[in-house]
Symmetry: C2
């Protein structure tokens, strides 16, 4: 398909506004952006009057199948929530339930303007199937956990699964699926396991994902165990010798920030999850000033409980002002790259996240004529403070429209919900107890 | 009109869930709630399958016409934002622009399940007109400001306006409009002015509104000026001898909390505005434990920038956990009365805020079959953490449906937006500079 967007007011990923342009899309790529109508014919022309055309949004920390546990185990701190509720519930997971959970998650994300997500979970091949079918993009990984220092890393079944998954799925779905390697966290891995996994990633040109400094307890206990912070530990183990994406980063020190900036580690900010689980607030100003690539994630639906990246951005946009008691602490314009190109960069998608010829056609149209989006004196303020998922008019990923005017074009939402409910009722009866 | 809601799962204002009931509404009142189909015929039967039936939501601190300034003067601290941007802009206000701003605000609020709001602003008669036309309810007030200690309070033109407004509009629109008295804040009033206004309110059975302890500067300077906190000052001036509603309460002391609990003062929590303007975070746990009536407000669209009370509740539900670093700091069930009956109580509407026979028919239907609301293991968790304004299916106030399935039934939304844009373009040209 080819598309011509006309009368397009564009919010660029560097927070500039360009008015009244044409944007042409051929197959999965943006072929033209400019003031003159490009030559040729197009399968469809889309009039953007009253809309804002933005790069697609990136949700770069998620556990998509955890929609199954949305609202299960509430008002508990992270460690109790994990050990008493989530881990036991996860023992009941099957490939089918994982697929169903991911399908619901993808539907929610698409309706919020998300064109790509980063996911860390079991049965990633089932999430890959959901990604493949729905047209969204994703960096997927099967996380490694290893508690026994005597275990040979190559014998760890999770590593084997991660490796097989990478071999089979990396680059699938016309490159929409990228497979990463990952270690769940410092506190769920031995040094040997992290070294081995990182070396594998380096050797095979894969990215690394991990949780990092989410709680104060994690930070303190890591220092006790290893004489260094989680960031220092990962640095030492070679995990930052490949492009890495570290979720949470609530408790990072100034030195951690320097390490992350120097090694090009993306810090994935998950403000809602960090608040809800009582973890704290990531020091975003220091990290921005320190040159760290900051992107945004919802975390799983079980700890958010939404997968709404717009709501997440708006929370990030106001939260740090309140915490620092400085209304100028962050600026709305800083949120634009965070929700777009920084996320694409964290996924190693260097041809994504910008509205530019040659870039992948990841485009979101936002309704600027809604009760909450008029008036607009400052486009970045409208974007960061007033916008909500209701205002997503269209989500296009790789040149394919996934969602338009409330309708899903690549999935049958009633079927997705029906199957989800069936799975949930039959496999998760005990959760209701 | 009479309505019968059937198959209704009800979330009561005290956070209990009652399943599969009938709710009957005759004119503006709930006449029956129970398991058996009531006798008689109804103009319309509404099947609530897949929905959650809740008491209507209360947004009890707003400046509705300030939609005109949404996104105008961003990323500034409260005092600069007020003196450099908002106060000069307000000099250009007219009755017409105020009406238009309120109409847009009401449209936004209705779509978010708000059945009643509390408003403090100039030209309140124009907001009253908008309230009257649209079927929403509101407690309205013209705030008093008085800087000259030698001024006779009865000569203050703002007081005169407030008094005339009360005389003319209190109880209008079948009681949907209640007029309150108000002093803008301690720092914008003399002791004499507060005393006089409070006495007037007491004498005429009116409620009081004020801003209280919004910023640390306000708190500190009040102590310097008066030897006591804003709460202590208002207590001394008699402002708490009538039912009072105090917005923000970010910097209240333990003693202030005791005063507020004892005098029955409602603390209106405005978490988004307090974050965005860098003011801080209200100590909600202490205030709940201290027995203060806590309700919820969006503040004006210029400092939020949405008027979405559901988003506000969700922020309140997760924020305090993160700040205290305790995931159990607040519970989702505590948010239910805060967004419903506590708001009704703050407005002196003792026959509102509950789904009970004899109470006003203020009813919200929420879609529980949406991508972000399934599954639901715990109804309060779904309500407080997963819900968003997209999920509002119906808003009914005083037995009249104001909004259903995306349609406004008491206002012409295209006309509201058109007039708003016209007003904004013609009267507010200079804002664009």
């Amino acid at each position: 398909m080819s598309y011509l967007f006309k009368n397009a007011n564009i919010l660029t990923s560097d927070a500039d506004e360009k008015k009244q342009l044409f944007v042409a899309v051929d197959k999965n790529t943006i072929t033209y952006v400019g003031p003159d109508r490009p030559q040729g014919s197009f399968d469809r022309t889309i009039d953007c009057t009253g809309k804002l055309l933005c790069p697609g949004f990136y949700n770069v920390h998620c556990h998509s199948p955890m929609t199954l546990f949305r609202g299960y185990g509430e008002d508990l701190p992270l460690d109790k929530w994990l050990t008493e509720r989530i881990f036991p519930a996860e023992d009941h997971l099957t490939p089918e339930s994982t697929y169903s959970g991911s399908m619901l998650a993808i539907a929610e994300m698409i309706s919020c303007g998300t064109v790509s997500f980063t996911d860390m979970y079991m049965f990633p091949e089932m999430t890959a199937k959901a990604v493949s079918e729905t047209g969204i993009k994703a960096n997927l990984t099967r996380p490694v956990l290893s508690f026994d220092p005597n275990e040979k890393p190559e014998d760890n079944f999770r590593f084997s699964e991660a490796k097989s998954f990478a071999e089979e799925f990396n680059g699938e779905a016309d490159g929409r699926i990228i497979v990463d390697m990952s270690v769940h966290a410092e506190y769920t891995n031995t040094e040997r396991s992290v070294r081995f996994t990182s070396e594998y990633a380096l050797e095979h040109g894969l990215l690394m994902q991990m949780h990092l400094s989410e709680t104060e307890k994690e930070q303190r206990e890591c220092i006790e165990r290893h004489g260094t912070t989680p960031a220092g530990f990962f640095l030492r183990c070679g995990a930052f010798d490949v492009p890495a994406s570290a979720a949470h980063c609530v408790w990072v020190t100034d030195e951690d920030i320097s390490i992350m900036a120097e090694k090009g580690v993306t810090a994935v900010h998950n403000p809602a999850s960090n608040l809800k689980l009582g973890s704290g607030v990531m020091p975003i100003r220091k990290m921005l000033d320190g040159g760290v690539n900051i992107a945004l994630g919802t975390d799983g639906a079980s700890s958010n409980n939404m997968l709404d990246i717009i709501s997440e951005m708006r929370l990030a946009a106001i939260l740090h002002k309140g915490i620092s008691r400085n209304a100028s602490e962050t600026r709305s314009s800083e949120m634009v790259p965070i929700i777009t190109v920084n996320g694409a960069r964290s996924q190693g998608r260097n041809d994504c996240g910008m509205i530019k010829p040659g870039f992948k056609a990841d485009i979101v149209l936002l309704d600027m004529d809604s009760v909450n989006t008029i008036p607009s004196y400052d486009i970045c303020a409208s974007f960061a403070y007033s916008m909500k998922s209701d205002n997503v008019f269209m989500t296009m990923a790789d040149g394919k429209i996934l969602y338009e005017n409330g309708e899903y074009l690549t999935l049958d939402i009633e079927k997705v919900k029906h199957e989800f409910r069936y799975i949930q009722e039959h496999y998760f009866d005990y959760l209701k107890g």
